[in-house]
Each structure stands twice: as structure tokens, then as C-alpha cells.
Amino acid sequence: MIAPTDIPSRTNPQETFVLNLGPQHPAAHGVLRIKMTMDGEYVTRAEPIPGYIHRMHEKMGENRTWTQFLPNTGRIDYLSALHYNHAFVGAVERAARIEVPPRAEYIRVITSELNRISSHLVWWSAYLLDLGGFTPLLYAFADREKILDLLEAITGSRLTYCYFRFGGLCNDIDDAFIQGTRAFVAQMRPRLKMYRDLVTDNIILRKRLEGIGPISAELCRKYGATGPVLRGAGIAYDVRKVEPYSVYSQLDFHIPVFPEGDSMARYRVRMAEMEQSLRIIEQALDKLPAGPVMGKVPRVLRLPAGDYCYAVEAARGRHMVRVVSDNKDIPYRVKLRTPSFSNLSLYEEASKGMMLPDALALLGSLDLVIPDIDR
């Protein structure tokens, strides 16, 4: 129904209308609602309205023990659950000064990078679906299936992992996992080349993405956007390099950076990151030391009073957990700094004056996971 608009607009208000994109819209990939003030097909203002899937994860952190909050972390950004595991576990380990055995750290890196590839594959397929290309979805999901099978065998779940523990891992990896991962790395490389030849170099796709939705480094800084959005704007900011955690400092990989700042740059960053993740996995498998996967952890975990942070590079950008302890067995405060929220917040400014399909191409290129925004 066409209702008269009550949103003040810079142009003649009688010529604009409000388009409620979502909370149930195919391009929103979840329950994101964007209130778009449209002038014909041009977006004059796009106001994101999150909150439809808010589950109070931060508040839940305040009324359960440190250990009990761990499964929650896998449900914030369900596509890169292991990174979120890692950030919370890392914060607690930093606070309680728990030593993590090196084998566990290597396995954390391997599984995290597998998780990053699977997350990027989901983004890639869903993004092409946004752009009207149906077929890549099935190919990407066939690849992702292999990752899920590998991770299922060792973590016990396929999506919302809760694999890391304070001081290590709940389960060691076996030879089947190592061989399966090596086989996956070997077959993923030609697949990535095929995706580049068939999809990335397609003229229709290039025309749809090149120069569309420019996001400058300044804009990223203003809204705190991180991850591929920032690296697509030409800034080589990656938590794995800037403040190395786990064993990333011992591994050789580089951070793909594309200075153009358009949707294609963000696209290329993610495609290149998958290749880098494969490199990391290979090296980590080669270097994998023997030993236990669980360190010494007190039976009842009481963190010394204080304020602790731990940041990881999740698939969508910098994810930071800040925990405040008052020396009880439940946290005083759990603050989650999630990348999707910051990445979404620049959308209103970045999408101004774009045409609707371009605005949606920009939205997709931010790689939003809605529960990560609302958490």
C-alpha cells in the first residue's frame, strides 16, 4: 500500500516514498529492516533498523558462569562461530593467565581458517544470489559441505561450534581430519580458480560491482568498519597481523588489500582471503606439534578482578570481547564488539543517492550477519 510519507526529505516530500525493505526481504538475508526513502529508484535515505533478532547475549553473559557463556559465543555470528569462541576463550585465558598448549593453538588456527573459508563461501554464494546469479550457490555449498563435514567430525556440530575451551580444546584432531583437510586444500585451489574464471571475470558481474558503492578509508574510520570492508578501502588492517594472537605470528601469509573501495574491491578481498586461509592451513598442518590439547585449568574458574580484552579477526572484521570481572564465578560484564554492527552503521551514509539495485549490491558487499548486528 502506498502510504503518505512522514519522513522529511531534502527533495520534495511529495515526490518520495518510503520503501520498507525487510524485515522479510530476500536481499536482507535475515531480519534486517531498512527504511528506504526513495525518489523513484534512487535511495535518498536508507535507515537501517536492527533489533528484530536481539537475544541479549551480553546480558546473558552477566548471569551465568564463564563456562556457561561459551556456547552463546557460537550463536552470535553463526557463520564464523569458531572466531567468536576464540575471542571469548582468549579473553578469559588472558585474565586467568591460563597457558594453552601449542598443539591446541595450532588446531585453533586451522579450524578458524576453515571456518573463515566456509563463511566467505556462504557470503559469496548469497551475494551472487543477490545479484541474480543462482548457480554459484550450489557450487559454493558443495565446497562448504566438505568443511562442515570435517569440522563436524572433530567439534560435534556443523554450524554453531563450541569447540574451544579455556586452556585448549575439548577434542583433539585425528589423522582422518588432517588428511581430509589436506585433501580439501588441494581441491579448493582449482575451485577458487574456476570461480575466478567463471564468475569474477564475468563482464556482467564486473559491470555490476566495479565503481559501485565506494567506501573510503575515511568513512570506515568514522564508523569503525573493519574486516574486508576496510581492507577493500585500501587499509591493511587485520587483527592477525596488527595485534597477532594465537600462533599467527609464526605463520607466513599476507593481507589482501584492494585500494579501490568499491564493491568489487571488497569482493576481491574475500576471494583472496580464502586463498590465504588455505596457505595458513597448509603451514599450520605442517608445523602441528604433538602434545596435549588441554592446559591446566582450575576446577572452579574465578577471574581476578579487572578489565580484559581480546580481539580476533573474524570473517567479517575485528571481533573483540571485553570482560569485566569482580572476582566472582560469573562475569560482571561481557561486552561484544561485533564487526557487522559497525559495518552496517556506515550504510546510511554510503548508500545515499544510489539506485536501488546498487544499494543492495553495496549492502551485500558488507557481508552482514544479522544476529551479529543484534546479538
Partner: protein
């Protein structure tokens, strides 16, 4: 049985046959499309209903028929109900002049080509009406897109067809096919001695046909990841079903026109098998290409779509028009 030979009765029977042809084609092309998409995407496609999924169209139609026809409040009720009919009937009318074989043609009129294009243009208006009558924002955006898209692509298509008309000198579709008798290099597609750009004109025709039928990569009308379902957003049950049928009817029409104009229609390349077999072979080869394109390419951007028409296709087709008129004058 003398009444069967009476012209009105014959025409009526022919039209009933065309309706059955369109209906069956729509039903089974949906299945072919889904099966084809399955093959492209390394999955089996629908395979539960009947042997290998052959009864899937029956199930689809039963589902659509059993759904409530919702006319949302605030819509223009008459136009809303009328639009699906206005989309499908012109496509059926056009098929009346398509020669499936030398004799298998409902009504052989000597301005068949003109009739196809005049009826074919109603499609745009009907889609626009459905978008307008829905009083839905997505539908109206989509309707506006469809109008500019179809107007933009009608021009190069007509220019290409005019080029062809200068070569053939007739609008009688059966006559056009008859002129292409002989081997495959007698087909208009390969008549490079008449106009060296003949294959290019066919490519332009095919692209325009994709755009006119609102097929991917030019599916601006539906654009489900942007406009939910475009003009069809408010249609439920068989209202949507008729739009869907019309899409396939238009594909069949466009591809049969391509077959008749460029691929020699019912002419056999080497004198084997009756003409209707060859016509259908060529027709379904073209339809397969349409399906293939849809599952291979992403959607174009709307202004790129218009740029393609106004900046590339129209100049090229104008050039071919001038070229063939010059060559006809010279040789």
C-alpha cells in the same frame, strides 16, 4: 465431417490446439527449466512426483489452482484481475500465425510478422497495468522498469526485423520459411552474401528477445532479490500461475519467431523427416539456450541494460539496416 473443413471451425480447433500447446509447453518448460537448472547446479532437480519428476507440473498446477485468489484491498480490482489475461492472450494470438510446418499453421495471413509484433507489444502494457493495479511499491518500481526496458529493446528488435524484411521482401511467415529452402546455408542466419552481418542480427534478435520476455539476465520485472517478485508480488495462486505461463508462452513465441526468421523454420537441412520435427528441434534448441543463459549469468544492472540497448544494439542494428539496403541496391 465436412463441417471440419469450414474455416471458422478449423480456426477454432487450431486455436484450441494452440492453447493446449501453450499450456503444455508452459507446464513442461517449467519442469525442463528446473531439471536443467538442476543439471547446471549439480543436483537432480524435482524427482519425487512421478517417475523422474514427470508429474511435477501436475502437482504444481494443482497447488496453484487450489490456492485462494487474493485481491488485496486498495487494488484496482478490475485491472488486477484483467492483467494476467492481457498478458497471456496476445502470446497465444501470435502463435496462430506461426507456421509449424508447411501446412500446420492456424491462420496463414500475409502480414503475419506485423501481427506478431503488434500483439506482442500488448505484453508491456499488461505488465504495467498489473504493476499499477497492485498498488504495491515493488510492483510499481518493477512496472516502470519493464516499460523502459521493453521500449528500449523493441527498437533494435524492429530494426533487425526490418533488415530481414528487406532481404525477404514479404511479411508472410510461411513465405519467409519457403525462401530458406535448401541446405542450412540458405537459412537467413547464414545469408552472408545478402548481408555480411546476418549472424550479428540474429544475436541482436536473440538478446532483444531475452529482454522482451523479461528473462535473465534481463529479468528486471521479477528481480526477486531486489523487488521481492516485482509486478507479481501481489498475485496469488493461479493469477501468478498465468503470469508464469505467459512468460513461457512468450519464450515459445520468441523462439519460434527466431526459428522462422533466421533458422529456416520447418525447412530440413537435408531432406529427412517431416518439417514439424525440424521446427520443434530448432525451437527447443533455442529455448534450451534461453534456459542455459538464465542459469549462467547474474542479472544486469538496470542502467547497463538500457545502455546496452541505446548505445550498442541500436547503432549496430541501424548499421546493418543501412548495410543491407545498400547491398540490395548495389547487387
Amino acid at each position: 465431417m465436412s463441417f471440419l473443413t469450414a474455416e471458422p471451425v478449423r480456426l477454432l480447433l487450431a486455436l484450441v490446439c494452440i492453447m493446449a500447446f501453450v499450456g503444455l509447453n508452459a507446464a513442461y518448460l517449467v519442469l525442463a527449466e528446473r531439471k536443467g537448472a538442476g543439471r547446471f547446479q549439480r543436483r537432480p532437480g524435482p524427482n519425487e512426483a512421478g517417475y523422474g519428476g514427470w508429474l511435477q507440473p501436475v502437482a504444481d498446477v494443482a497447488k496453484l489452482l487450489s490456492k485462494q485468489l487474493i485481491v488485496p484491498p486498495g487494488t484496482d480490482t478490475i485491472l488486477f484481475r484483467l492483467a494476467p489475461l492481457m498478458v497471456i492472450s496476445p502470446a497465444m494470438m501470435c502463435l496462430a500465425v506461426i507456421p509449424f510446418s508447411q501446412t500446420l499453421v492456424a491462420r496463414n495471413i500475409n502480414v503475419g510478422l506485423l501481427m506478431v509484433f503488434s500483439f506482442g507489444s500488448i505484453n508491456v502494457m499488461a505488465i504495467m497495468l498489473s504493476g499499477w493495479a497492485s498498488r504495491n511499491k515493488y510492483a510499481i518500481i518493477s512496472a516502470a522498469r519493464v516499460v523502459s526496458q521493453n521500449v528500449a529493446y523493441e527498437i533494435p528488435m524492429l530494426l533487425v526485423v526490418i533488415t530481414l524484411l528487406m532481404v525477404t521482401g514479404t511479411m508472410d511467415l510461411n513465405e519467409i520459411v519457403r525462401q530458406q529452402a535448401g541446405w542450412f546455408w540458405h537459412w537467413n542466419l547464414f545469408k552472408v552474401w545478402v548481408n555480411p552481418l546476418m549472424p550479428v542480427t540474429f544475436v541482436i534478435f536473440f538478446i532483444c528477445m531475452l529482454a522482451e520476455t523479461n528473462r535473465a539476465p534481463f529479468d528486471m520485472a521479477e528481480a526477486e532479490s531486489e523487488l521481492v517478485a516485482g509486478v507479481f508480488t501481489e498475485y496469488a495462486g493461479m493469477g501468478f500461475g498465468v503470469f508464469f505461463m505467459a512468460e513461457y508462452a512468450n519464450i515459445v513465441l520468441g523462439c519460434s519467431l527466431g526459428t522462422v526468421l533466421f533458422l529456416g523454420g520447418w525447412q530440413s537441412p537435408f531432406g529427412l523427416w517431416p518439417g514439424v520435427v525440424w521446427f520443434l528441434l530448432k525451437l527447443y534448441a533455442l529455448i534450451f539456450t534461453v534456459i542455459w543463459v538464465r542459469w549462467t549469468f547474474p542479472r544486469t544492472q538496470f542502467y547497463n541494460l538500457l545502455n546496452l540497448s541505446w548505445k550498442i544494439l541500436i547503432p549496430i542494428s541501424l548499421f546493418t539496416l543501412l548495410l543491407s539496403s545498400a547491398m540490395i541496391k548495389l547487387f
